[in-house]
Symmetry: none
DNA sequence: GATGAATGAGTATTCATTCAT
DNA sequence: CATGAATGAATACTCATTCAT
């Protein structure tokens, strides 16, 4: 009634939504989106189906909310909205951050992998988050600043500058690409196992690409 | 007397099964196993649902047949049943083979990725193909010959020998691991796009790890 | 071509049909008509489905042929087409015959029981073999000769005459009824188990009702 | 808060389940289990297919629930958990009870007969209700008390005692058997028709075997 | 807000029957 | 005569979503 309780209601609602999303994500990741039933999520979230539909208007809306939230968290975490310039130190810092991110968002990455392997889902996803794709297709030329401060560009630029540092025989595009696939491979492996040698691997990646 | 010989029937049957498996794999990979309906597969294979069940006793049996066949083809293609020893030349050859394999079995890899991300499916898979996992968990010590001539071991051994060639500061386990994740990342990327720079990437991988 | 071979063909055909019917009856009885597939029967009869349809135009036709044949055999075996009069000796003989009949046609009785329990099947059956029902509904008055020489009547008459022999307090209708249900109960039991004491039971039945 | 209490939900659920079971039993008995479709049951119960699966997880589960419930009701009705001793008066009472039971559970007996004629179903049934079989295979020796207070034993014992009353020429095993098959025959007949002479028949049975 | 009963469109699967060879 | 490939209608079962309470 009072503005205070309105606010409180809103917060409670958001907390509950976040909780549902966490529960759902775990099941989507472990059992797959299509095999996970709404009933199952509701039961594990300790509520009825009906109530779940009070928070999310459909199973798909729930999925989208999860993706949206996770992508946002990732973007925020990576703190891309800066000058788009990576110094060598920042590069190392950036890679270590990614490593932490992969570990902490493991369920989300699992889910995302499953979904992105599917052509139509992937197309849908790229419409909403076009920049994400460029993670795997670097190679924008300098001057191409459609998503100017985005990750892909930052990385590409980093390797362009590295070329200048290192001299001619260095192929910056290829190195950016190599770096990306190494990160992807590292991610896939980490998604499963908390291997204690992940630290060593990250050090080596930095060693190779910094 | 019989209008068609047993042999003829058998051959026709096998051809048709292979055809169905191809059609199904494409749809499983593109739309996901759970979203692909048996109806859909049948229609695209130009036959009735009923007939499909003449060839495969269930949707799951079809999936398993596809996986089985693909894994076998991969194993055969990689020709692992040799001495388990990789010379430097063989290593390069091996990497190039893998690259071709990824390109040609693209649909299968897509499907496999989706499935293996799901915990229970993955456990099921590992029961049937235990050695496959070791691809991503190298690090067997010399003398550990549980899957003596398998890929993981071959690779690990290769890097052990490389250590001898290169001297102390070389961490063979870590390098085997790095090599693996690079290959995995390369695979994930290739699964999508026939980028013309895959060749360059492979050359660089050989350059780095041979 | 020649009349002789025509004849031979016909005989072979009939033998084959009888064989199929035997195989089918066994499965119908053991697994139920609806659960037994045409495929199953064909396979167990050592032939293809297609060929079975050469002999019987449908699964139902096969069932009907089996019932028809079995009923005929039973009627023939019981040799009802006589004077409709049962002496005491003939009564005993008749009961012993029934006992043998139950044992030898066990599968058929099993099948029949299953089917007759179903209302619509039963009605269908009664249209085709109206007299069979009277087995369980004796009580036709003398003079009622709708199925004059049939079993039910023979039995009823037997107990009517027995009343005359025995005196007033004997209720012939009730005794005919008692005799019938005893036979039915005996049948149900025999259908399952070849108990060695069946002989004893039959003796006792004769003892009680002769 | 909840518009309906847990208790209310539970009661409604149980009522509805009982109702579905009644409807289903009628159809299973009249048309046979395999020919009765879930759709058909649902329509006659005035609900959607989907809802039926809310109550029973499968058609087979529904069948099992029906059997379970009916068997329990029968056992309860027959009140076997007493001293296992039948006086002459109790014997008469017992037989009359059975007669009522048969009339009231007609549908169930019809269904059971159909099912038990099928070998595999019967085996399954005997695993769950082993004692039921002994109804038709009396003849346990005194001292054999595997199902000590069960019906079969009670009956057998009754006839053993009757032998003592009556003298040597009386074969107690055979008489128990005769009694059983008479009851079975009576049951089979009653299952169909409410003949008004059932009362007379029961009187005669008591007369003969008490 | 909260529940779970209820729906119905959809999905895998079965099987009698037909038919080209 | 003989085969089994092929069909399609039917059937059990699932599940996202709605709704009365």
């Amino acid at each position: 009634m009072s503005p205070r309780s309105q606010q409180q209601f809103k917060e409670m609602r958001e907390e509950k939504m976040a909780f549902i999303m966490d529960v759902a994500l775990e099941h989507f990741a472990n059992e797959g989106y299509y095999r996970t039933t709404v009933n199952h999520i509701a039961r594990h979230a300790g509520m009825s189906k009906g109530l779940m539909y009070n928070y999310f208007e459909s199973k798909e809306a729930l999925l989208k909310a999860i993706i949206h939230k996770s992508v946002n968290e990732i973007y925020k975490y990576l703190d891309l909205n800066r000058d788009g310039y990576l110094s060598e130190e920042e590069f190392e810092f950036f890679v270590r951050k990614i490593s932490v991110l992969i570990k902490e968002k493991r369920y989300f990455w699992r889910l995302l992998m499953q979904l992105l392997m599917q052509n139509d889902v992937r197309e849908q996803f790229l419409k909403v988050y076009p920049e994400s794709d460029s993670l795997m297709h670097p190679g924008h030329e300098p001057g191409d600043n459609y998503y100017p401060l985005q990750m892909a560009k930052m990385i590409t630029d980093y390797f362009l500058r590295k070329k200048e540092r290192t001299g001619n025989q260095f192929d910056s595009k290829r190195e950016a690409n190599m770096f990306f696939i190494t990160i992807v491979g590292f991610a896939v492996k980490s998604i499963y196992s908390d291997a204690d040698d992940n630290e060593k691997t990250i050090n080596r990646i930095i060693d190779l690409y910094k």
